[in-house]
């Protein structure tokens, strides 16, 4: 079957480096690799060994390598697995890779190694996702979170919640099948109501904490908004300089451009440009506004910059109106020019003197992370997918609670409880469909 053929990928990113790693997994991986390796017959090697060897093609040396052999099921994927450490350098690595492909290995799809590990019961779904998070981690906190997930913290947590729901389900079941036996446990509506409300609190709390964790892991999509010449770019620079941020200038879609990333107290801000709110009479302006609205829709934080040295004009007011339902911070810039705007909660800064920039940073963090909560917020859940499913479960439980209050029959509420139970199972993979698995592993980088 095509499904479990031998896959191959370059697991390190290509560029000049000391070494690169090529990885092969599948039943024939050792056989295939052995055909290009000389100096040692890896087919005779035990699993979990590293050997010095050479790559040869038509009798010519291609590279000097270290080769690791793992035998099923004791490997990352649970299959036979070979890792070849070539010298760094794109040409030599790709040459070896091409040799393996021509011998029958298939180019691996993104995440396929980890997918196989999951398929072979080497890890549960949350652990598999954690592998991706470790690869993508860009702060200490996000790495911590990923490692927690890898060590089944999420699994255990969600598994326990599922247990709580199952208890309610069992309580409901008991007396339905034995109505004539009054001495079977009489289940009181009060008990189910109480247990449900406890669960709702528990999951609500978990979602709140997970949202904070998600901010740590994924950062905050931030838009700096303002009419031209209010000091938008100088504010950006002020923020960037102080934090020695990495400016990547990756061109994205035509809609938005990631201007830069800054790490403020462990939280990454993804700063987005808003090209557009400039001319007011121009037909192009309409497209501009539309684009800005799109960027705004996606943004989790708006930094709205106003010029304190001049009175507000119509354009400022329209921006204030446009962002009134978003999480936003209104920034009064150019306070070095001694102006003042009468707006509640305005943060006054000077991009020139950098006055007020620290306050701004504190305010940003405060907006997303409740400091009182932070001490005991250590939960491993932080991914959008998990939070989405938790919210689904929460909404089912709330439905059950509401119906319970209206006096609906317990045996009908069971439908909500079962739904919640399933939603939680989708987090851990205790319930899962092939669609979910395919979707998930697509997000992985190649060679993992």
């Amino acid at each position: 079957m095509n499904n479990y053929d031998t896959i191959c990928a370059i697991s390190t990113s290509l560029g000049k480096s000391a070494i690169n790693i090529i990885r092969l997994s599948g039943e024939d991986s050792i056989e295939i690799a052995s055909k290009i390796i000389s100096g040692v017959d890896i087919r005779k090697k035990e699993g979990g060994t590293i050997t010095h060897a050479y790559i040869k093609e038509n009798g010519n040396y291609i590279d000097e390598i270290l080769v690791s052999v793992f035998r099923a099921p004791k490997s990352y994927t649970g299959e036979n697995l070979v890792e070849i450490n070539t010298h760094g350098g794109a040409y030599v690595t790709e040459r070896v890779f091409d040799m393996l492909i021509s011998l029958g290995a298939r180019v691996a799809l993104p995440g396929e190694f980890t997918k196989r590990a999951f398929m072979n019961n080497k890890m549960d779904l949350t652990s598999a996702e954690a592998v991706m998070d470790i690869v993508n981690a860009n702060t200490r906190k996000s790495l911590d979170l990923a490692n927690k997930a890898l060590h089944r913290d999420i699994y255990n947590l969600v598994h326990e919640l599922r247990g709580n729901i199952m208890d309610i389900l069992l309580q409901i079941e008991v007396n339905i099948d034995y109505p004539e036996y009054e001495d079977e446990i009489e289940i009181s509506h009060e008990k189910v109501k109480h247990d449900t409300s406890m669960l709702i609190d528990k999951i609500t709390d978990l979602i709140d904490k997970a949202e904070v964790m998600r901010v740590y892991k994924e950062g905050i999509k931030t838009v700096i908004l303002g009419k031209p010449n209010v000091g938008k770019s100088s504010l950006l620079n002020a923020l960037l300089n102080q934090n020695k941020a990495i400016v990547t200038n990756i061109s994205g879609t035509t809609r938005d451009i990631v201007e830069g990333k800054i790490n403020i107290g462990g939280v990454v801000l993804h700063l987005l440009d808003t090209a557009g709110v400039r001319d007011t009479d121009n037909p192009i302006e309409l497209i501009g506004i539309e684009k800005t609205m799109e960027v705004l829709n996606e943004a989790e934080l708006v930094l709205l910059v106003l010029d304190t040295s001049a009175p507000l004009d119509a354009q400022d007011y329209s921006l204030l109106e446009m962002t009134k339902d978003k999480k936003r911070i209104i920034i009064g810039n150019k306070i070095d020019l001694h102006g003042k705007l009468d707006i509640v909660d305005i943060v006054n800064v000077s991009s020139v003197t950098k006055a007020g920039v620290d306050d701004l940073k504190k305010k940003i963090i405060k907006l997303f992370i409740d400091e009182d909560m932070e001490k005991d917020t250590e939960v491993a859940i932080s991914s959008t997918r998990h939070i989405g499913l938790l919210k689904e479960a929460l909404s089912s439980l709330k439905d059950a609670y509401e119906s319970e209050k209206e006096g609906l029959y317990l045996d009908m509420l069971e439908i909500d409880f079962k739904k919640a139970y399933t939603s939680l199972g989708l987090i851990t993979g205790e319930e899962a469909t092939s669609d979910i698995v395919d979707e998930l592993f697509k997000k992985f980088c190649l060679g993992k």
């Binding site: 499904n3 019961n121 339905i176 317990l410 205790e430």
Partner: protein, 623 residues
Amino acid sequence: MNKYDVIVVGGGHAGVEAALSSARLNKKTILITGNIDYISSMPCNPSIGGPAKGILVREIDSLGGEMAKIADKTYIQMRLLNASNGPAVQALRAQSDKYMYHDEMLKVLRDTKNLEIKEAYVGKLLTEDKKVKGIETIDGEVILGKAVILTTGTYLNSICFMGKEAIHSGPEGQKTYSNLSESLMENGITLFRLKTGTPPRILDSSIDYSNMIVQKGDQDKKGFSYTTKEFLPLDKQVSCYLIHTTLKTKEIVMNNLDEAAALNGEIVGVGPRYCPSIESKYVRFSTKDTHQIFVEPVSLNSNKMYLQGFSTSLPKEIQEKMVKSLPGFENAEIIEYAYAIEYDAINPLQMKRSLESKIIENLFTAGQINGTSGYEEAAAQGLMAGINASRKLDNMEPFILRRDEAYIGVLIDDLVTKGTDEPYRMLTSRAEYRLLLRDDNAEDRLMHYGHSLGLISDELYNEFIESTKRVETEIERLKTIYITGNQTEKSKMDELGLSSVYSKESLFNLIKRPDYDYRKVMYVKGEDVALTDKEIASLNTTIKYEGYIRKSLKQAEELKKMESTIIPKDINYDDIHNIASEAKEKLKTVNPDTLGQASRISGVNPSDIMILSIYLKQYKRHV
């Protein structure tokens, strides 16, 4: 020599439904039973229905079976159980007249075209090249048939136990033989032992009822069958009685546990967990001092009373003491002693979803031989076996019900997918979508099948369709009529103690309120009620639980998707490397038809299902 299309072995609840459906589908059918007087007998409690079981009876009716009609003709008390719970779990329970039930069923059998009844004991299954040829009786008579349906109940190689006394006997002192068991094993069919038991029957006039809790019937307008138009008035219904065992009872049982065949190791068969003997109850719930016992009449024309909840395998002399320890039974006379019975059943995993054997072609099995317990479970399987044997002979696809369509679907799917190691009883908790599998919508779910199968007449089906239309039209109409809370309406609402209406509200929306229903809104509005009771019940449920029914339907969509992924017959599970070896073995044994069925096999994990599903996707691409 006479040759039949279908031979039905056994005349219990499974056998009669199998024989009737096969004969009604124009198959030349013979029903062979050891003793015609025990056709449709109720060797245990004289009642039909109850949670889940009552819905099974309604489903049998919608598919054109007989049990519901006979139950409606012969009940002596009718109650609605779980009335304080939701519509999904409410169920009728009838106290049946054991002898009338037999008489009425026998009449129907005798009046059915294509159906012959024969009194004989079957000793051998005749096969050729793993295909059914017929049967041979104990006396050596050969009867040939294209298909055989075995519905042997508890009669297959059975042993009755009363304490240390063990008699090779069928229930109620009937004969049993081990020959058929041997013949089945020779044909490669795996048998295992199950056990069940029945309580003592007590002489009515020796019981003092004066201090017992009386339980009267509470339904005089409801029956199991759609066709039933006449009901037994409440004042003509008999009473049952509720009592509690005493400390003395407990003491007698606990002091004699080593005498109980069920507990001292003499019986190897596994008993029904959901219908335990009194000694099992005392052992399992050792902290409980008393248990409920129901005293139920067996028939209007009998002096026997049945003690529901008091089945035992203790010896006769202990039974005497136990019975006398019950309140009101101080002077009781036992007419029939309690006994435990152990019998042979086939491994249901050797059976297809059509109830045909995987080992022997055209051999079908139904009822307790498949590992179930209960008259209703048996009848449901009998009906399905009769239908599918007939379809097989006509080269038609088997008739299979999904789990979201009927309890019958749940029952058969559970048996052939999970197997069973104890007598399987239908429980509402076994159904995932029970809000869809209600008592009140059995016709909506199944009558179209019954009709297209040929077991429901055009006339009846049209009557049902008309009725459905009336309900649908009325529901639409209720959306267009409003109550404004004017003086006339308000005084009527106050009269009924209904919650107030402050602004214009449609009758449809009002019915959704917990305290309102169809009759009440029609009264308040001053409209005439033109629907039947049944139609009103259906209308109320449809409107009141619309939201939850929709949720349930949505969840069932996921099941349908899994059920529509067919696993090819020639699949080789050894080709799928990554499935865990335990799961692989289970998959090979069950050989599921669909991905959905595979997902319900115990020992097959979600990750195995995902791998299987990915394999099937690629398989499809390759084929």
